[in-house]
């Protein structure tokens, strides 16, 4: 891999940040850019600066810039993270940032991956909500303190960013593994008393490639920027699996 060096015109206080960015798709190379060091900047700011000032063809994704949409996830110095919520000062290594697309998903161009396989797995895991009520029924009265609702609430805030999916070694080893995000979603639905397809969701989450493939190593939990625990959700599914098994259902 031969590295190309592109330098930015100006640096502030003479200090600069070296940013190595993956250019290309599955095949490609790292290209190094030097940008001014600023006291307050996120990794996403840096990528944007490079795209605006040096490399207009650089492809990357973002939308909200404040940790709400989940579209800016990349691999930063080897770890998956939201670039908009990663302060350069906290993640650089000796003044160097190495940026790659998220792991475990096909690379399209530069920092952009094809997320469709990731979303397909949500569907495969039974992640689609189906209601029991119509618009003429009164809203469901869900007790927020019920056990099931609390279990669902603990996992519900996921924004589909794919960070945990990229962090999971089992996803890397077993291409048909549904992965932490999809199973976490299934867990919320299994515990949602309004969901009509809870049985089906559970069946899918327990099928081959489902929760039983998880090694409980917690990579997903360690990297989720929201501090969610797909590991815990999957452990919950495994407990239900045990019950199913003894009920002789499978």
């Amino acid at each position: 891999m031969n590295e190309v060096e592109r330098t930015v015109p100006a640096t502030e206080e003479g200090r600069s940040l070296t940013v190595r960015i993956w250019r290309g798709a599955q095949d490609g190379e790292f290209v190094s850019y030097a940008v001014p060091w600023r006291a307050n900047q996120t990794v996403l700011d840096v990528v944007t600066e490079i795209q605006r000032r040096i490399e207009p063809a650089l492809a990357y994704r973002f939308s909200c810039r404040v940790g709400v949409c989940g579209s800016c996830a990349m691999t930063v110095n080897g770890k998956p993270r939201w670039t908009c919520r990663s302060h350069v000062g906290h993640v650089h290594e000796d003044g160097v940032l190495t940026l790659e697309p998220l792991r475990n998903l096909p690379r399209i161009k530069d920092l952009v991956v094809d997320m469709s396989g990731f979303f397909d797995k949500w569907q495969q895991a039974g992640g689609r909500f189906s209601g029991t009520a119509t618009r003429h029924d009164p809203p469901a009265a869900v007790d927020p303190y019920s056990r099931k609702r609390r279990l669902a609430d603990a996992a519900i805030e996921c924004i589909n960013c794919g960070v945990c999916h990229a962090a999971c070694d089992v996803v890397a080893w077993k291409p048909d593994y549904l992965g932490p995000a999809a199973l976490n979603r299934a867990w919320t639905l299994v515990n949602d008393e309004r969901h009509a397809g809870a049985r089906d969701t559970l069946k899918r989450a327990l099928a081959d490639g489902g929760c039983c493939a998880c090694h409980t190593q917690g990579g997903c939990m360690a990297h989720c920027p929201l501090g969610l625990s797909p590991t815990g959700s999957i452990a919950g599914l495994k407990r239900l699996a045990l019950l199913e098994f003894f009920k002789g259902g499978r």
Binding site: W173, A207, A241, R250
Partner: protein
């Protein structure tokens, strides 16, 4: 399939846990008062409890390890599923045969 194997592996692990502890205790007991093969065999042979205990041990270990090896082959070596299944099964079966032979040799009424 995955669910069943997963459960079997968990259940055999639960069985193996206490068995391993007893096994360690038994080793201490078996070597007390002389370490020659003769002396040890005198204490183990023709002992139904011993046979039953290690019979269960061997079956649980063979199932547990067979499934584990299958997972390693599928996940780390990325073997095709069928091949992983077959090799895991073969490994488990080999353990079973070796184990049963050993149990019979050490605990049986002959040898």
């Amino acid at each position: 399939m995955d669910l069943r194997l997963f459960m079997l592996q968990r259940l055999t692990a639960a069985v193996l846990g206490p068995l391993v502890l007893v096994h360690l205790g038994l080793i201490l007991h078996a070597v007390r008062g002389g370490l020659t093969a003769q002396e040890i065999l005198a204490r183990t042979q023709d002992n139904a409890w011993w046979m039953a205990f290690y019979g269960l041990f061997v079956v649980a270990a063979a199932v547990h390890a067979g499934i584990g090896v299958r997972n390693v082959l599928l996940e780390w070596l990325r073997l095709p599923r069928r091949l992983g299944d077959a090799l895991g099964l073969l490994f488990g079966a080999a353990l079973l045969v070796l184990g049963v032979r050993a149990v019979v040799a050490v605990g049986g009424a002959w040898a």
